[in-house]
């Protein structure tokens, strides 16, 4: 029995070490706006040459929204920061039905992501305790994938890169 436990710990310890190095979630509670509300509307109007995909396409766009990430614990370290969407999104029937894209003012990278995926925002040395940028979002949703209004949290992950 003792031997069995020892073997288990030997396997578990390296895994825990790997996880702590690979990805940690960043705190975005410093962002001034917490609840971000967007209105979805039909993308195409008054047209008869639409495919079913175009007919059912909903879109929402935002003004620039300030996002602040607490990177104080990582100053001086080389890191990559990702924006990730959860797999499980309230109100969404199909993962392929939603795409979120954004442009920024340059501190972070522009990108796009679908549920369960992630996009690289930053790669390099962390020099600030709080990293800030303004995200202009665009949401594209297939209305056939919509059960009701959608609600979800974007996740900001950081990966520390060993020298």
């Amino acid at each position: 029995m003792k031997k069995g436990i020892t073997h288990f710990l030997c396997v578990l310890l390296p895994c825990l070490l790997c996880n702590s190095v690979l990805a940690e979630r960043l705190d975005d509670r410093l962002s001034p706006q917490q609840e971000l509300n967007f209105q979805l509307n039909w993308q195409a109007r008054n047209r008869f040459d639409l495919s079913d995909e175009q007919l059912n396409a909903l879109v929402a766009q935002s003004n620039p929204i300030e996002t602040r990430l607490d990177t104080s614990a990582y100053v001086g370290q080389n890191a990559r920061i990702f924006l990730q969407l959860p797999v499980d999104i309230q109100g969404l029937k199909s993962l392929q039905g939603l795409r979120m894209s954004w442009t920024t003012r340059g501190r972070f990278a522009d990108g796009s992501v679908t549920p369960g995926g992630r996009s690289l925002l930053f790669e390099g040395t962390i020099t600030e305790a709080v990293m800030t940028d303004f995200f202009s979002y665009r949401f594209e949703l297939d209305s056939r994938s919509m059960l009701h209004d959608l609600r979800f949290e974007p996740v900001y992950d950081i990966e520390i890169q060993k020298p």
């Binding site: 288990f8 960043l26 962002s31 509300n37 039909w42 059912n56 974007p154």
Partner: protein, 167 residues
């Protein structure tokens, strides 16, 4: 054994942090919509002309119309498949030539694709197609005059009205 429990606890807590604050809400503001286009669209009414040779009047020889008419319908709303859309044709007003009438029951059509099926006018309001929302359906209808009723020679005019509804 206690050490094992400790590591297991760390593993669980490390995977479930609750740091995030921003929440995105996508609210549906899209108004349910239906659209229908019969023929060329716009305000003009598309016309199909049937020329019946004098030697063939009422002999049962089918007389094809001069052109096909495209019927295009679409309906969108959320959630999908939640509303039953109905395409109807009203042929209750017969064709007329002065005081002489010719019922639309003498006319039928064949569909090119069958998505809006072939049929015959019933002289009233009839359902041509029902489908659930979030779809676009179109077809080409080729109209035919059955030519079975003896009618006076002359020009007969009439109009069928197509209507699309969604609750």
């Amino acid at each position: 054994m206690n050490r094992l429990n400790l590591f297991a606890g760390l593993l669980v807590s490390g995977l479930t942090p609750t740091l995030n604050a921003q929440v995105i809400n996508l609210k549906n503001s899209a108004v349910p919509e239906i659209s229908i286009r019969v023929g060329g669209g716009g305000k003009a009414i598309s016309t199909v002309v049937f020329d019946i040779p004098a030697t063939n009047v009422a002999d049962g020889t089918p007389i094809p119309g001069g052109k096909k008419i495209r019927i295009d319908v679409q309906a969108r709303a959320t959630p999908s498949n939640s509303r039953l859309v109905s395409l109807q044709a009203d042929s209750s007003q017969p064709l007329t030539n002065g005081s002489i009438v010719l019922p639309f029951t003498e006319f039928y059509w064949t569909a090119k694709k069958g998505d809006i099926p072939s049929g015959v006018f019933n002289g009233g309001t009839q359902v041509l197609l029902e489908f659930f929302n979030s779809r676009r359906i179109f077809d080409m209808h080729d109209y035919v005059y059955a030519n079975t009723l003896p009618v006076a020679v002359g020009t007969y005019n009439g109009q069928v009205v197509y209507t699309l509804t969604m609750p």
